[in-house]
Symmetry: C3
Subunit: 327 residues, 3 copies
């Protein structure tokens, strides 16, 4: 164990003035300095992950509880491993519809987890706003790991970090998000984060899957809407197709998977219309052959695996910042 | 790490003569001295939980396996965190009806867990007596985390500890348990523990949900039965409404949820009839608005959160005592 | 902590020339020296498990992810405890049919786990060959914890180790495997391992459950087929009844459970026809009263519990060998 050295490494990311949050609910109330602090702390975490023994005892004795009301693979495991890498204890609750205790309110459930000793609750919930409700009523720190169609801030932060890491900046980039924008918490959080950091965001998808009235919103001056992907993608620095929930077809929002793929799949031909250095991101899991062609998903411009790897480091950074609470 | 100091702290709770159990099955074979030993050890555990790093390596290298044949949130997590706080390894098996291996006996399942290296099995089972069966046939220590309608001794111990902590004694108190006594393992274990420690217990509920013949039992001289809550609650020191299983209505045991709430809900008006200092306990999860009014559940007399917090410390104490096995 | 001493103990099992594998997929490409190296390393692990604190920090900072597409109790817990005993972090994914993300390929799922930081993936999958597919395409080490009817190499290794430990050798022994050979990955891996180590294997079961054409295969000169158990078991050194999947009856492969038991159950009468010192092994979970009589399952010749206990040590050995990767 190289505890002293590790502490020194981490002390590089000092939690000085900028940080104000006790929760991570969405990026709409983040400042650029706060996001830059997350980036800087993530750099320190990546250094830890590059070691032979990728583990520090920084959060020893802290308890992180993950509370997932929707199934998840990579987000839940990403948080679990992030917590373990920092020496925290983790308990996981998967509250699928069948096992949730009937009659108990969300507040009472989380209140019990807090009373059990949780320092941070990582929660995913199908209802937009659920983590806000918890954060308002209880003292425990809450990280939103996805709430309904609303927000998924840690995904947006890892996307931003990956762009920053690969291109060296976010400012001034053209980022195209493709697909089912309306139902996407990933898109929504990315819009906040990308525009805050100075990127131009182009949302592209079938009209039925685009957010209504977003283009007229004064608050989002850097966001454009374009239904034609061949137009949208031109000179893009970053292209981010979203997972298409295949059940959208049944609900009549798209005519057919085949037609959706024809018009909106990110394939090799379309990617050539972006800048030659353009990055391909995807929040995962992918429907290969639907929103993304296999050769693009696994091609030279894809940074999809780096997103996943960076996700652990970003979540370590967030757990670290929250657990230390400005100290 | 302050290992030496921690060991000293724990050595305060010496496992001298009184302790006889290799299992925690129910409180009916506990002595007062044994319960007092649990209290004293719990005090030491609470001191650990109050530290900045709430973790000691006392049970390092010990393996605790939780085996739950019924869904549970707080009890399972409570045991898991208790074990981790003491440095033990935990593995969790949730054996819902669908995933239980067909054809294998309970004995063979637990026997395999023992052969895998379990030092203590924490088990919940829908059949009364299941943990006894395991304890009889196998060498591993068993903690009953709830068996059918029969017993839930760790819940009763945390209830007793919470009363002792808040009022300073259990002896001579009037404790009213309200609701579905007949189907409640929490009530049953509490009756044993409370009467052993010298409390007077009043059971109050609709006649269809009261245990048959209990009032005539010579073995329980300190237990009274009263179907009128307004009478039962007078001058109570502790009031404990039980969770009403809402499906009882379908089985015809209560006329309706509304009528049940009218007659047996612990609300503000009724609580005023107890002593002004009376404590409100609830084993959780609550049906707020059914057996307990929201303002009482979250009011000044409620110690429901403290119960949950004390539960972790009580379970740490029990794991510690069993794992050290009288050494 | 006795770190130095522990390292010394482990250094006894040096990973010198013989070892060639980056994955554990099946035993068909193992050499005798490799299996002997597993045995030797397992001996070292059993020494660790015999200590008061049965835990070493050898794999600290390593991440093991278990990915089970079929339900399992003992195999999954066995790997989890093995990993924890060596100080590794473990994350568990149980991907039952309902929770698997639709549309994502197995390669993409495992690729994400690798990107999350997994050093070793322990996977069980209903399709034969699935772990090979993963091993071919990704860089992470894969341990096959059972794939379809194909292979279950860690079960076979623990069976071999248990025989070696109890009898002192595998060479020259007569091992009878009884039951549903055709659908048994346990049988298949054991056939490879046993014949490699010089045992003679007799496969015994109803003709509908025997592998077609196996007896004519030149590659397996030490394997015999015999449908009459009373003949097969004579002078056996080891008898291994397999779990009968009770649904085989519905598919018409056996006339009835009762008739199967009459012809193929390992009972006391039949066991007497084997050598007096013969060992009884069973991969678990057992259908007592079907493929094995209760008195045999729990009798003096049964080593079924030792199999489970040895399984943890064998899996510790395999994790250790793979994680150290020939260093």
């Amino acid at each position: 164990m190289k505890t002293t050295e590790q502490q020194e490494t981490l002390s590089g990311a000092s939690l000085a003035p900028p940080w104000r949050h006790r929760h991570i609910l969405d990026l709409d109330d983040f400042s650029r300095q706060e996001i830059e602090l997350v980036f800087k702390t993530t750099d320190a975490m990546k250094e830890i992950l590059s070691r032979e023994i990728k583990r520090v005892p920084t959060l020893r004795g802290k308890t992180i509880i993950t509370l997932f009301y929707e199934p998840s693979t990579r987000t839940r495991v990403s948080f679990e491993l992030a917590a373990k890498n920092l020496g925290a204890d983790v308990a996981s609750l998967i509250a699928s519809a069948s096992s949730v205790v009937k009659g108990e309110s969300l507040i009472d459930t989380v209140s019990a987890l807090q009373a059990l000793g949780a320092d941070i609750i990582v929660m995913r919930h199908p209802q937009s706003g659920a983590p806000y409700l918890v954060a308002q009523h209880l003292g425990v720190s809450v990280i939103n790991a996805g709430d309904g169609w609303h927000a998924h801030p840690t995904q947006a932060l890892l996307d931003l970090y990956t762009i920053q890491q690969r291109i060296g900046r976010v400012e001034g980039l053209k980022v195209v998000i493709i697909g089912d924008i309306m139902h996407s918490r990933v898109a929504r959080s990315n819009i906040w984060g990308l525009t805050l950091m100075g990127a131009e965001v182009v949302l592209c998808g079938p009209p039925t899957l685009l957010p209504i009235g977003l283009d007229s919103e004064a608050a989002l001056p850097r966001v454009l809407i374009e239904t034609n992907l061949d137009h949208a993608i031109r000179e893009a620095d970053v292209v981010m197709p979203l997972r298409l929930q295949l059940e959208r077809q049944k609900r009549g929002l798209i005519p057919s998977i085949r037609e959706y793929a024809e018009l909106y799949q990110l394939n090799g031909r379309r990617l050539k219309m972006a800048k030659p250095s353009a990055l391909v991101l995807h929040p995962g899991p992918m429907n290969e052959g639907v929103e993304i062609a296999p050769d693009v998903a696994h091609g030279a411009q894809s940074v999809i695996e780096q997103q996943v790897t960076n996700g652990v480091a970003v979540r370590m950074a967030l757990l670290y910042i929250l657990a230390r609470g400005g100290k």
